[in-house]
């Protein structure tokens, strides 16, 4: 299992190289992601800085991976295609892409370049992961998975997919990614001008949410909102290794977490146990395991609507649309193939779930004329039945 992290500048790259020299991490176990302001969502490196860093790495010999993870509309995308064409791609072990357009560009133009495909957005099933994997074939280096996948799913995918899999083990959880600049309009005009090409950082809190202090960043790519708690799977590194996960990523870009790198490496190699580390206490935000243990984000769906007012197809006749107490109920016949006939027994299911059975002894139309039956789209009056309200569903008893 590889240890993946980011380097944002020469100092960080040199620090990583020094950890290799000191035997804290094996060179073969490490991978370093680098980006630029234009290609990467959060990187602040200019193109020249990246080129300098690549030059420096010729002596450090760390496995560098280029990140191209922005989503971009055609006109902006073309500029990044141009940027990519000017980079010394042979200096990178692989390229990480998220936009299918970036993926297609690499597949068609640079078929020799290994791809790490970022599937952090959706891609929560085996069929999809498998299809991406077979589409890329030998060019695929790794699939970077969503952090909404549970351990159970990671286990299955790692067992059944031939491609390497990567998960985030430590870092911010991205909640929202907009191309629009949403924070700078809140700044005064003179401050806005001075902010050009600089990130704006803030915290957002809503009274309508029990959570407070969502970290926010606005940069040239738009606005990003993160969860108030960061992801922390450091207690599960051994388990992830046992699941055959190919790589774990430690995203240390947003705080002073780079200082904890050595401790994380100790943990990664099992040189310390989770009881010995103090990263949680030192970290500026609370930490969670996210959906690692279980993802139940669909269980509340059944409460979003009242199933009892939904028509069930078997023996469905129609719906009560009006009730006049002690007088009558109006029924709209909605079934296209069933009629309501005198003498039939019907079952009424109210929105509250009460069920009543009744024999149809009279059917009256809206002109007060008695009828023998009622067919599709007809509105007819039935005798009042206590407890029945509008939206009650009516079914034939057969």
């Amino acid at each position: 299992m590889k240890f993946i992290t980011y380097a944002e500048n020469k100092i960080q790259l040199e620090k990583l190289a020094s950890l290799v020299s000191a035997g804290k991490v094996n060179r073969d176990d490490l991978e370093v992601i680098v980006g630029t302001r234009t290609l990467s969502r959060y990187s602040e490196m200019g193109l020249e800085e990246l080129l300098e860093l690549v030059t420096l790495n010729q002596s450090l010999k760390l496995p560098l991976v280029l990140e191209w993870d922005v989503l971009q509309q055609e006109n902006l995308f073309l500029k990044n295609k141009e940027t990519i064409s000017r980079l010394p791609l042979h200096e990178f072990k692989a390229i990480r892409v998220q936009d299918p357009g970036a993926l297609n560009t690499i597949v068609e133009t640079y078929p020799w370049l290994k791809v790490q495909l970022i599937l952090e957005n959706g891609n929560h099933n085996f069929q999809g992961l498998s299809r991406w994997s077979s589409f890329l074939g030998a060019q695929l280096d790794r699939l970077v998975l969503s952090n909404e996948l549970s351990r159970e799913h990671l286990s299955r995918y790692a067992g059944e997919l031939s491609s390497g899999l990567e998960v985030l083990a430590f870092g911010r959880i991205l909640l929202f990614y907009s191309p629009r600049l949403l924070l700078s309009p809140l700044k005064k005009e003179e401050i806005q001008k001075s902010l050009q090409d600089k990130n704006i950082e803030a915290f957002g809190t809503s009274e309508e949410s029990p959570h407070a202090g969502f970290p926010l960043i606005e940069n040239a790519h738009g606005t990003f909102m993160f969860n108030v708690k960061d992801l922390y799977l450091l207690d599960h590194l051994e388990e992830l290794k046992a699941l055959n996960i190919a790589a774990v990523r430690f995203d240390l870009r947003f705080d002073e977490s780079f200082n904890h790198l050595e401790t994380m490496l100790d943990l990664y190699y099992g040189r310390v146990s989770h009881a010995d580390i103090n990263i949680k206490n030192a970290h500026p935000r609370p930490m969670i395991k996210g959906f690692y243990n279980i993802n139940k984000t669909d269980v509340l769906f059944t409460k979003l609507k009242n199933k009892r007012i939904q028509r069930q197809d078997d023996n469905y006749i129609g719906e009560i649309v009006d009730v006049e107490r002690d007088q009558q109920m109006a029924l709209v016949v909605k079934s296209k193939h069933l009629k309501l006939n005198l003498g039939q027994e019907v079952q009424l299911v109210t929105p509250e779930g009460k069920v009543k059975n009744v024999n149809i002894n009279t059917i009256i139309d809206t002109s007060r004329l008695e009828k023998q039956s009622a067919a599709t789209n007809e509105i007819v009056l039935l005798p009042f039945l206590s407890g029945v309200v509008a939206k009650t569903q009516v079914y034939l008893v057969q």
Partner: protein
């Protein structure tokens, strides 16, 4: 002028069977809808199998197409239930399915011959992305709302794919499919139909400086209105113009369908929109509940003017009084009441085609014929016959404050 000028398909939302009928009757060339699972609107009524059958028959009989959304990012256990639904969709001959997940695409291709449209949830934004999805077997791309019409034209020309763009309705501020706020804060997967619309909340923004935190609806977008961009859509050859809003009312589905259908019909006949009707169409779109309108990124990438920095309000100019359930010529009309009205009120019938018809309501009776002083929302009332009214017509009233 002959009716030979090409115009795009008008694609309207159908959150329920009744809304489907309203949208089709008011002029939608196609509707999109969801079954009980696999779509992104779990709180919407959605369609049972029987309703789906009836809806497809209703639409096809009137020359409209039906697309079914399967645009959730499905998990493994959801996929297990998909083949059965695909078999139903194939049997009913729905015209396409709208999908955002490659796993779902794969399952569809394995189990059916259904035509596949790529959902806007997949955030397809550029030519290369469209090319990749074409390789995966989609025939139409519903582009991300961030793409301009000019860019869309290029994507169409360079890929040969059908292109669908949003023309009207609410917008995610995030790249669609790239927001999981509800997942982490409400325990509801926004990309499986549980979006809690946290982007519409007011937030206090703390810049961590010496200034006070600022309150703002900073993540809330104005609504898209593309009526003035129709020429650009047509000239770019955009195949389908989509109206957002499966969760919205019958009135919304009817009004927006009617307005855009009328506008496109006008173009078909005249080859332009140089008509005083343009003002009328815009006025009609202002009579439905909406946030301030913007053209979003249709022309230029949306900037701060597209932020709707206001609390949601109910200040609307018109209210929908009801939907016509039954017309007995020269006798009576039965209306399902949506908002109260009174004897003496001036009501407006929205015919499926043509101008609004005004009628003063002389009396309101219960369905049994007893005269009542006002109509009660949720009930069915009998009003005197109004010439021009048809079943499923929407009837509205200028909103006013009653003391």
């Amino acid at each position: 002028m002959t009716n030979t000028i090409w115009t795009p398909e008008l694609l309207s939302p159908a959150g329920s069977l009744e809304k489907l009928k309203v949208a089709v009757l008011y002029g939608a060339d196609a509707v999109y809808l969801g079954g009980q699972k696999f779509g992104l609107r779990q709180a919407s009524d959605n369609f049972t199998a029987e309703e789906l059958k009836e809806g497809v028959e209703f639409a096809h009989e009137r020359g409209s197409l039906v697309y079914v959304v399967l645009n959730s990012f499905l998990h493994d256990k959801d996929l297990e239930e998909l083949p059965e639904f695909l078999a139903l969709l194939s049997e009913l001959k729905v015209d396409a399915v709208i999908v955002s997940d490659l796993g779902v695409i794969t399952e569809i291709q394995k189990h059916s011959n259904l035509v596949i449209h790529l959902s806007t949830q997949a955030s397809c934004l550029n030519v290369e992305s469209a090319k990749l999805w074409k390789k995966m077997g989609v025939t139409r791309i519903v582009l991300g709302r961030e793409v301009t019409i000019k860019e869309a034209k290029k994507i169409k020309e360079e890929t040969g794919l059908e292109i669908e763009m949003f023309v009207h309705g609410s917008m995610c501020m995030a790249f669609s499919g790239n927001c999981v706020i509800s997942n982490y804060t409400q325990g509801r997967d926004s990309n499986r139909g549980g979006c809690a619309h946290s982007c519409r909340f007011e937030y206090s923004i703390d810049f961590n400086q010496d200034e006070e935190a600022k309150k703002a609806f900073f993540m809330s977008s104005k609504d898209l209105e593309g009526i003035r961009m129709l020429t650009e859509f047509i000239e770019a050859g955009i195949d389908s113009l989509k109206v957002e809003g499966r969760n919205k009312s019958h009135y919304y589905a009817g009004t927006v369908s009617k307005v855009y259908a009328e506008a496109l019909r006008y173009y078909k006949t005249h080859g332009n929109f140089l008509s005083d009707d343009l003002i009328r169409w815009e006025e009609e779109l202002r009579k439905i509940s909406h946030r301030d309108y913007t053209t979003g990124s249709l022309d230029e990438y949306a900037d701060e003017s597209s932020i709707y920095n206001q609390r949601e309000s109910d200040e609307i100019e018109y209210t929908v009084s009801g939907v016509v359930l039954e017309v007995k010529e020269n006798e009576h009309i039965l209306m399902e009441v949506r908002s109260a009205f009174y004897p003496g009120d001036e009501l407006e019938i929205m015919p499926f085609k043509g101008r609004i018809i005004n009628h003063k309501i002389a009396t309101i009776k219960t369905i049994a014929g007893i005269e009542i002083p006002k109509s009660k929302p949720g009930s069915v009332v009998k009003v005197p016959y109004m010439a021009g009214a048809e079943r499923f017509n929407l009837i509205r009233k200028k909103a006013e404050v009653r003391v």
